[in-house]
């Protein structure tokens, strides 16, 4: 059930070491936030998982398959440039099905069959647009959509291929606050669907890793927060995971009560963002231990 496994990954540009010995295991159905000081290598890590910047050391596996380049197993949503201008919303979402399930010669030479398949693709695309509450915008071009709508389409576009993991690089960074809240709630709804799937013994569909610079957003949306920074005892070797803990789970209908997050936010500030607080990098890396402990407690009760 591991969607993503990162083992001993290090990366450097010339003489500068950016990432040092990163180890990470992400299970299907987790929504993970990555935070860290600017320039700590969050983007480099995302590019390594995406496969555009192969790592210098270590291995990254998506669903057990080593990542050697961008592929349909790892989805991506950027902050900008998220959609193709020349396609309508539904065509943008259907693009993955078209590229993944058919080939150029098929589309050129077997066009009656392609025509039929195309209809089915568009139907599936509209189903995904429904999931992100955009069924009414199917025929519109990106230039006619607001920033928030574009990001919704981009998420549907990436999700339609059911990637093992979906990477989001500051996906809501350019949006106004109200839109951003709507999209956060949408992610919380996906998480609830994950929980339902798990309870019914199915594999949860939405596994996400998103980079954000807002700690509230990280703690509110995610069920697990990872901090990346070079403020630890081996910091001269590069940034590594210095924080990895579960965080409170909000339901979409819960009030946005951030006072619940204050304590952990303080802890994050300390562990990830404070250059003077130097510690062993594993001091706050306890996600899997805490999960195991919780499971043991459940059993004991």
């Amino acid at each position: 059930m591991d969607s993503l496994v990162i083992e001993n990954v290090s990366h450097w540009y010339g003489e500068t070491r950016v990432l040092n010995d990163i180890n990470l295991r992400i299970e299907a159905g987790q929504i993970v936030a990555v935070v860290g000081p600017s320039g700590c290598g969050k983007s480099t890590l995302l590019k390594a998982i995406l496969g555009t910047h192969p790592t210098n050391e270590g291995t990254i596996k998506a669903d057990g398959i080593p990542v050697t380049g961008p592929s349909r197993h790892v989805g991506m949503v950027y902050q900008h440039y998220s959609l193709y201008d020349f396609l309508t919303a539904e065509d943008n979402v259907a693009l993955g099905l078209k590229l993944d399930e058919t080939s150029l010669p098929y589309r050129w030479f077997a066009w009656p069959a392609w025509h039929k398949k195309r209809k089915e693709h568009l139907e599936r695309a509209r189903e995904y647009l429904r999931r992100v509450n955009l069924q009414d915008a199917a025929k519109r071009y990106p230039s006619g959509l607001s920033g928030g709508m574009r990001q919704r389409v981009a998420i549907a576009q990436a999700m339609i291929l059911k990637p093992k993991i979906l990477l989001l690089d500051e996906p809501f960074g350019a949006l106004d606050e109200a839109t951003r809240e709507d999209l956060q709630i949408m992610l919380l709804q996906f998480y609830q669907e994950n929980l339902r799937a798990k309870a019914e013994g199915r594999v949860p569909e939405y596994t996400m890793l998103f980079v954000t610079h807002e700690l509230n957003e990280a703690l509110y949306v995610a069920d697990r927060v990872i901090g990346l920074s070079r403020f630890h005892s081996d910091g001269h070797l590069g940034a590594t995971v210095v924080y990895d803990r579960p965080c409170p789970i909000f339901k979409p209908e819960d009030p946005r009560d951030f006072s619940r997050l204050l304590e952990q936010k303080e802890e994050l500030r300390n562990a990830v963002f404070d250059p003077d607080y130097i510690k062993h990098h594993s001091e706050y890396v306890s996600f899997w231990d805490e999960i195991a402990l919780e499971a043991a407690n459940l059993k004991a009760n």
Partner: protein
């Protein structure tokens, strides 16, 4: 104030007014010239222009060997050359430009040659083309095709590099695209309206190259007829040809604009 709007009716009145004034000035000059010399053909009046029109439409040749009118002969020759040349130049520059923008190992050997050639004024290359292609139809086609090829290949290359972001390409790979699909499904639709815009802008230069070559080497065509007739100061035919060239250019321009709006409704500048 700069750019302050004017009412639409004034806009229309002024644009008609401009045309009327231009024609009026011509009329006055023409009448004065006729007063000095009744047989003048430099600034022909309405009557002279009418004669010119009849002349360019009159059938040529002898009774045993009839030939179509000048207008028909010249239009056929020039339009064929222009379209064949433009088509070859455009297709070649699209293929080369996209390949250069997609593969560094194609860009590396070609980019220096193309940027050098694009700096040579195409009409200066005419003697070279004459040696290579003779003075048959091929010369005019080659002149137009090569005249627009180098600068257009550069713009297609630039468009491929700049209009298609790295993110757009990487994202397509995450959606399961192959290399060929990146070119045909991502790069091509993204830059297509930019290319149509480029073709539209190249129609002007293409006509310049064609007329220049025809003036020098042709025995039929717009450039040839204009040269022959202006030698004899028969401006009543020359002016008709110039007006036709202007109208033809405007028409092509408009058609390309409509084509772009139809094929890429999403495109904005």
């Amino acid at each position: 104030m700069v750019r302050s709007p004017i009412p639409p009716w004034l806009m229309i009145v002024l644009s008609i007014g401009g045309l009327v004034v231009a024609l009026g000035v011509y009329g006055i000059l023409s009448a004065r010239q006729t007063a000095i010399n009744e047989t003048q053909s430099v600034l022909p009046g309405i009557k002279g222009m009418g004669e010119g029109f009849t002349k360019i439409r009159a059938p040529q040749g002898t009774e045993s060997n009839p030939k179509p009118s000048w207008l028909w002969q010249d239009t056929k020759a020039s339009v064929t050359r222009l379209f064949a040349g433009t088509a070859i130049g455009v297709v070649a520059s699209i293929v080369i430009g996209i390949l250069m923008g997609s593969y560094r190992w194609i860009e590396a050997p070609l980019a220096p040659i193309i940027s050098f050639m694009a700096k040579i004024p195409p009409t200066a290359m005419l003697p070279l083309y004459m040696i290579a292609f003779g003075t048959s139809t091929n010369l005019f086609i080659a002149m137009v095709a090569l005249g627009i090829f180098f600068s257009m290949a550069q713009s297609v290359f630039q468009a491929t590099r700049q209009d298609v972001t790295q993110e757009a390409i990487q994202k397509a790979y995450t959606l399961g695209a192959s290399d060929m699909e990146i070119i045909f499904e991502i790069i091509w639709p993204q830059i297509m309206p930019r290319i149509l815009e480029n073709i539209r802008l190249q129609i002007g230069p293409a006509m310049v190259f064609l007329i220049a070559a025809e003036v020098l080497f042709a025995d039929v065509g717009f450039g040839y007829r204009i040269r022959m007739e202006s030698r004899l100061l028969r401006m009543n035919t020359v002016y008709w040809y110039l007006a036709l060239l202007g109208g033809f250019g405007l028409l092509l321009d408009w058609l390309m604009l409509k084509l772009r709006q139809y094929l890429a409704p999403w495109f904005q500048g």
